[in-house]
């Protein structure tokens, strides 16, 4: 069964290979169905492989399939292959599972788009790259997938590239990710230098050849890469702009899967992080700070997707908080449940945007629950789930993270707890403004719109995801090791690096009650403040609306000086220094080329003369060497 693992990434690749050349001819909607079928087929294979792996004894749940040696140079040999283990399978199953639902949703959402087939070409390529990222048996394959998802993200953010904002958002995502990638690459170089390998299993067995400082350096450099991809401080502004892409893209790439790649990477290299606890503290604090700042920012947004974008940043911050504390299974748990409810919320917001004729301002919505009951209900579930209201999935996952944070530092816990209240609050604000309160859109007159729930292709994913968001907590219940399925499932991969968490039952109950109270408090505050009110400018200060001016600060301190430097280079350095030098060199080459060309007279006699002269020189040299 395990031999079929190669099919997991192959199906989406085949989809891409079919749709890229002939997608246009296949057209709308057949192209979408092919793409969806490919991802779904991959999901089926993943589940089969997963079942097989689960039936094996825990300590043998690692299967590396080496396809071929990609290249080798000196002592470094890089294979092309995949690694099947509990972590990669967990990732692959939700990537393909949620991926196929979002593909299905997109058939409906992109129905009227002219570039319909192209959209699915990118989506299939994205799923393939993402699967290679998580399944890769060495860091270079992971890096290739990492770049692949980055490129697809760029294509899809800038999908409606005729809009200036979309085009520049795409560029912004690309540039921020480049910064992260530089860190990733440096980490790879250091690992090659010290361990002569990039294969995960080999690296981990040779960690003793790295000094303490090098371990910290590798950890932090990889974290820089992860921070770029997963939008952590200070590299997060691109994710808010990335909302320019079509909503299914936001759901798939910028909420459920790609942005969690950084968290996956951290879990994958947990044996390295385990040996560098100082790096772990840095990661935990950056995660906590990101979670808090993004949550406060989410409180002041008016764009339905921006609220969700900052909420994603905030949730990712939670995941890094868990990673930094050494609670990798909690991070994966939160990643899974987050994928459920955040994909749900994004798809719900997509339905709303669709129904409101591309209106995204929550202040211009209201009272949609009567006309869009299904979307409203599923969005409500999403809200309660992300807020951490028991017994929805978010409650269990967030609780897992917070109880681990407490063990490391109560201060981290406090920031997390505060963020939890804020999360429940801003998501409540959004729900109330969109679905309840007064109707603030025209249902009559010339600009009248008649919002309604979308067809089954867009509704079915909402229903499935809301079921998952509700019951996702069952994956990992904190009542003894028998019910903590996910923890024991992941134990072969991350177990050795885990934080030792010895909370007693009483403590667990305390944390559980506290989390529930925080969530309900946030919900209650939101309800009391935003039930019938649209404007509370005190609660929406510009400072928060602008995300603590971090984007502006980066713009002013780095982007503008860089642009000025670039402009200076373009107008002064380039023409006067570089061009002059290059042209000078080129001129010199060309001149010498023309000079040399003149020797090429075309006469055989002169050619023969050159041959003879050279011959004489060579023979003379040989004679001198012979000692004559």
């Amino acid at each position: 069964m395990l031999h079929f693992a190669f099919l997991i990434p192959l199906f989406p690749l085949v989809g891409f290979a079919i749709l890229a050349p002939v997608g246009k001819r296949i057209g709308n909607p057949a192209a979408g169905w092919i793409a969806t079928a490919m991802v779904f087929a991959s999901f089926i294979v993943t589940i089969i492989v997963l079942a097989k792996v689960a039936s094996m004894p825990a300590d043998s749940r690692l299967y590396v399939q080496n396809w071929f040696t990609w290249f080798s140079s000196g002592s470094l040999s890089i294979g092309a292959g995949i690694q099947v283990d509990p972590l990669s399978l967990t990732m692959a199953s939700f990537i393909t599972g949620i991926g196929s639902m979002i593909h299905l949703y997109s058939i409906g959402y992109m129905e009227h788009d002219e570039a319909f087939p192209k959209f699915f070409v990118y989506l299939n390529l994205f799923v393939f790259s993402m699967l290679m990222l998580v399944l890769g048996e060495n860091l270079l394959i992971t890096f290739l997938g990492w770049e692949g998802v980055g490129v697809c993200s760029y294509f899809l953010i800038a999908f409606w590239f005729t809009r200036d904002s979309a085009a520049s958002a795409g560029k912004k995502a690309m540039i921020y990710n480049r910064i992260g990638d530089a860190g990733f690459l440096l980490a790879l170089f250091l690992l090659i230098e010290r361990t002569h390998s990039l294969t995960f299993t080999t690296i981990f067995s040779r960690l003793s050849s790295l000094s303490k400082g090098e371990l910290i350096a590798v950890s932090l450099l990889l974290f820089v890469g992860a921070a770029g991809k997963s939008a952590q401080l200070p590299l997060f502004p691109w994710l808010a702009d990335a909302m320019e892409g079509p909503t299914p893209v936001s759901a798939l790439i910028h909420a459920a899967t790609m942005v969690t790649a950084g968290v996956y990477l951290m879990c994958r290299v947990s044996p390295i992080l385990h040996l560098a606890p100082d790096a772990g503290h840095v990661i935990a604090w950056i995660g906590a700070a990101t979670a808090f700042i993004a949550a406060t920012t989410g409180c002041a947004q008016t764009d339905i997707k921006k609220v969700l974008a900052y909420s994603t940043v905030s949730q990712l911050g939670y995941m890094f908080l868990a990673v930094g504390c050494g609670a990798y299974d909690a991070a994966v748990f939160l990643m899974l449940t987050h994928a459920f409810y955040k994909a749900l919320l994004f798809l719900g917001s997509g339905s709303v945007i669709h129904a409101m004729h591309e209106e995204q301002d929550i202040k211009k919505m209201g009272a949609l629950c009567k006309v869009m009951p299904l979307t409203s209900l599923t969005f409500f579930i999403g809200w309660l789930s992300i807020a951490g209201v028991p017994p929805f999935s978010g409650f269990w996952a967030k609780g897992d993270v917070l109880s681990n944070a407490w063990v490391v530092s109560p201060a981290l816990w406090a920031v997390g707890a505060l963020t939890a209240i804020l999360t429940a609050y801003y998501m409540g604000r959004q729900y109330l403004l969109v679905f309840l309160g007064e109707r603030r859109w025209k249902s009559e007159g010339s600009e009248a719109i008649h919002p309604h729930d979308a067809g089954w292709k867009m509704s079915a994913p909402l229903i499935v995801l809301s079921v998952l968001a509700t019951f996702g907590g069952l994956l990992n219940l904190p009542f003894g090791s028998k019910l903590a399925f996910l923890d024991s499932w992941l134990a072969p991969v991350v177990g050795a690096s885990l934080l030792h968490n010895t909370d007693s039952t009483a403590q667990l109950w305390f944390f559980g009650v506290a989390d529930g109270v925080f969530a309900l408090a946030g919900v209650a505050i939101a309800y009391s403040l935003w039930r019938n009110v649209v404007d509370r400018s005190v609660l929406e200060p510009r400072f928060l609306y602008m995300a603590w001016f971090i984007d502006s600060a980066i713009d002013r301190l780095i982007a503008r000086p860089s642009t000025a430097l670039a402009a200076f280079s373009a107008t002064v350095v380039e023409p006067r220094v570089i061009d002059a030098a290059v042209n000078g060199v080129a001129g010199a080459f060309r001149l010498s080329g023309q000079r040399l060309r003149r020797i090429q007279t075309g006469y055989v006699r002169s050619y023969a003369l050159v041959i003879v002269s050279a011959l004489v020189l060579i023979v003379a040299y040989f004679m001198v060497r012979s000692g004559l």
């Binding site: 071929f68 080129a586 020797i599 090429q600 050159v610 041959i611 011959l615 040989f622 012979s626 004559l628």
Partner: protein
Amino acid sequence: MLATTIILPTINYTAILPELIMLGGMLVLLGLVAVIPRDFSTKTYAGLTQVIGTASLVSSLVLWHDVAAHGAFQAVAQAVDVDGFSVFFLVLVSAILIVAPAFAADYLHDEGIEGAEYFILALIAGAGAMLMGAANDLILVFLALEILSIPLYVIAGLNARRATSGEASMKYFLLGAFSSAIFVYGIALTYGATGSTNLADIAAFLSRNVIATPGTLYAGAALLLVGFAFKIAAVPFHMWSPDVYEGSPDGVVGFMAAIAKVGGFAAFLRVFVSALPTLSSIWEPVVWVLCALSLIAGAVIALSQRNIKRMLAYSSINHAGFILMGLIALSSRGVASSLYYLFAYSFIVLASFGIVTVVAKANSGSAEIDAFRGLGRRSPVLAVFFAIFLLAQAGAPFTTGFLAKFYVVSAAVAAHSYAIAVIAMLSAAVAVFFYLRVVLVMFSGSETEDAVGTPEQHPIVLSRWVWSGIMACAAATVIFGIYPLPLINFARAATLLFR
């Protein structure tokens, strides 16, 4: 009076089967032409040549299987080596003879050069190139060299109606004969110094004896070196090549360029690595200088060329410099990298000249750079393929061109020849300029710039023959560029079994 008897060697025919298939096929073709009342079309001959090439490829692979299973051996009175090295060249030459006719079939017909001459000559040259790789005796090397060269002189002059073609042929012949004379003299002196023409015997003799006055031997080595340097067009023995490439019929230049380099390098590497390694401290500096000069002059002079055929000729000189780096490294890794480079080069150069041929034909025979202006709009697919081959020559990743350069440079670095590695990389940087210039011209605006002499803007129609050739070369260039391991292993094995 002594009765002298000539002892005929026993001949193991299977050991030289690929060469025999080439020559036998050539004879069949020749006989066929003699008996049929009216000439077939050139396409028929091209197809037959490909069949012969395929047969020889199959027998080469069978031989490879033998060598891999039972080890290398010698045949025909120790004059022929059958080892990984020779089989590599058997395979490569067979493959060239399968691909090259695709570029010539239609061209020859359109030029009015009917008949089977070209294909017959190409098969002879192919057999010569094969023997160059297999020869274990300087006499046989010389014979092979002539078997390879003389058909090429004639091919250069195939287009009797064009004066340039005759001029190219004459120049090539005169200078080629000149260098052959030098080469034979080298053989004579080497024989005088070592008492043998057999490469293995020479090597054994030199490793056993210290020669007190090595003047004769050194002079012999110097002359051999010059002979080979002429064949591979290393600077300063390169001057024939741009003139010959420019004057020769377009559709066959790619074949000439590929087969001459392959054959020349096969014997060059064999003779200097297997027979004269003990003298390496003497000849290596000279090869170093030839290599550096080829790298630099090839790239620099190519810069100022406006004619694409001449530009490709100079870039071939640049490539020769790269291939020589493998010899400088003087390691099995170096030789393997040279072999890889030769393989990559052969298909890239075949396709490049093939595309130049069709573009020149569509522009009333002009291969000036202006003929390529706006090709990207006129025939986008063709332009993309040409761009692939140019970028491959420039050493762009995901092509064999990149890995070829990477391997020779890393072999040189591994042998601590840092200076030549730096020169090579700088020359590659210069070379990128003229390759990219053509790409730029193809894809940049055409309508505005050339009001005068606007090329006809209807798309260039390619025959199935040319397409098949381009696709085969592109496949070899890209597939082995992404997944090079089989080819590298083949090249490595070729040197491991080096005798």
